[in-house]
Amino acid sequence: MTHIQRRMIARRAVFGLAAGISLTLTLSACGGGGSPLSDSATSAAAGSGGSVIVGSADFPENATIAEIYAGALNAAGVTATTKLNIGSREIYYPALLDGSIDIIPDYTGNLLTKIDPSNTATDADRIVKALKAKLDPGLSVLDPAKAEDKDAMVVTKVTAQKYNLKSIEDLAKVCDKLTLGAPPEFAERSNGLAGLKSKYNCVPADFKKLPSGPVTVKALTSDDVQFADIFTTTPDIVDQDLVVLADPKGNWAAQQVIPLVKTDKVSDTAKAALNKVSSLLTTDDLISLNRKVSGEQKMDPKAAAETWLKDKGITK
């Protein structure tokens, strides 16, 4: 359960219909009278110089990464346009299959759950291997980035020092004295309370169901809860001096950022450009990009992406 899934579940009910309608419109616009197959065939043949569409899921972090991809592609001489905030994976995955978009930044663990729900791998390398084996023909993933956006048990620095906590294994020893703050699904998912108990024998003294975001962070910093489920790319981790506890037994699957692409639309130049982004993108980068886009600055994802590309020397 990470970012994408949680936000999407919350939004799906509300936006499902609207997204469905807008996708239908998009698709019919792209179809342009021809069948989707012939459409993509001609564009692949015509676009050997490479013109690609980068899509994104409907939350700011993903849109920012999509802008980074597009910026890096353009810098490498591949014409790239963006179609941002398409919706959840249920919507953008088919859009990738039918050629409405060609590239989208995805997260390894959640992508694997989508294409192979029975796979229980949590290890980063095994997930990427499984992805390469299970993706629909016509799609492929490039190199994963070090950057990860996934659930983590987080404590304040004070709590970490008080109990000498570095990983969830350390936490397990004092679990029964501490209150956990996490979203409601934590009570029901197998990697929520059940996973903490079976993998680490950690049963919190109390569990408060809180919405992810500022409320959870506030509950943690005001000691209403002593540890909380927070995403690893949340700027508050740095801003509030929080400590992310390691998950040595892999309760949560790895969620590396990975370019998911339509194979025949991506030239070697484009692949090299995207793999370069993956080699440079870190979780700390995502934290700082999220702060720019979702923090007080409210920077446009494109502008935030441009600062990153400049910092890494990809553009001037």
Binding site: G109, N110, T122, E185, G192, D224
Partner: protein
Amino acid sequence: MSVPALVEEYSSDNPLVQGYEWLMNPMHWQGPEGIPLRALEHLGYTALTLSIAVAIAVPIGLYVGHTGRGRVVVISLAGVLRALPTLGMLTLFVLLAGLGLMPPIWALVLLAVPPILAGTYAGISAVSKDTVDAARSMGMTEPQILFRVEVPNGLPVILGGFRAGVLQVVATVAVVAYINLGGLGRFLIDGLSVSDYGRVLGGAVVIAALAICLDIVLAGIQRLAVSPGLKAPRRQRGDSPTGRETITAGVQGGNS
């Protein structure tokens, strides 16, 4: 990742069927997380919210209605309060005051005050000036006029505002589940978080049923509480000179 949630098994993908099956499952009607106890919690939050809202709105409404002072301020303030998004206020209060029972309740009080305040004010000020002057000329003191003449005469409208407030609160109190409290909203928030739409729909149906039952009860109370003398004009609506019925209908419109 593969995180099968421990959710329901339904016989169909249709959320309506799932909602029906969820409601019919006896497991959901018992225990500390069953529907009856959640409904009690729900009514508890509703009662607490309304007591605070009544304590704030009724005295102000009586004062403004009786004296006519501060009318513009109060009416515009009530309008502003109506426009506040409850979920946003709830989050704000929790961020300011921390977790607990009262921050979410205060957010709901903001929702309940406007209809009760408007109903009280409108009920009092709609009482015929002739009636009030007659009472004054008979030597009644101002409090006597207020409580023996204006309140009984304005009661249908005042109770109408109260009913509107109750209905809004009982339907909205589900949001407190967003911040770790109980009530029937737990089924909505928890169900949504694991895409268990049967639970979401079932919970929504229970909340709607509770709201309708409560409104029927209040309609009965309203009928009993209103002075029999006020019912007379209704039978001869055509020649009522006061215009009171028109105002009554205006305040109650859409929620009674």
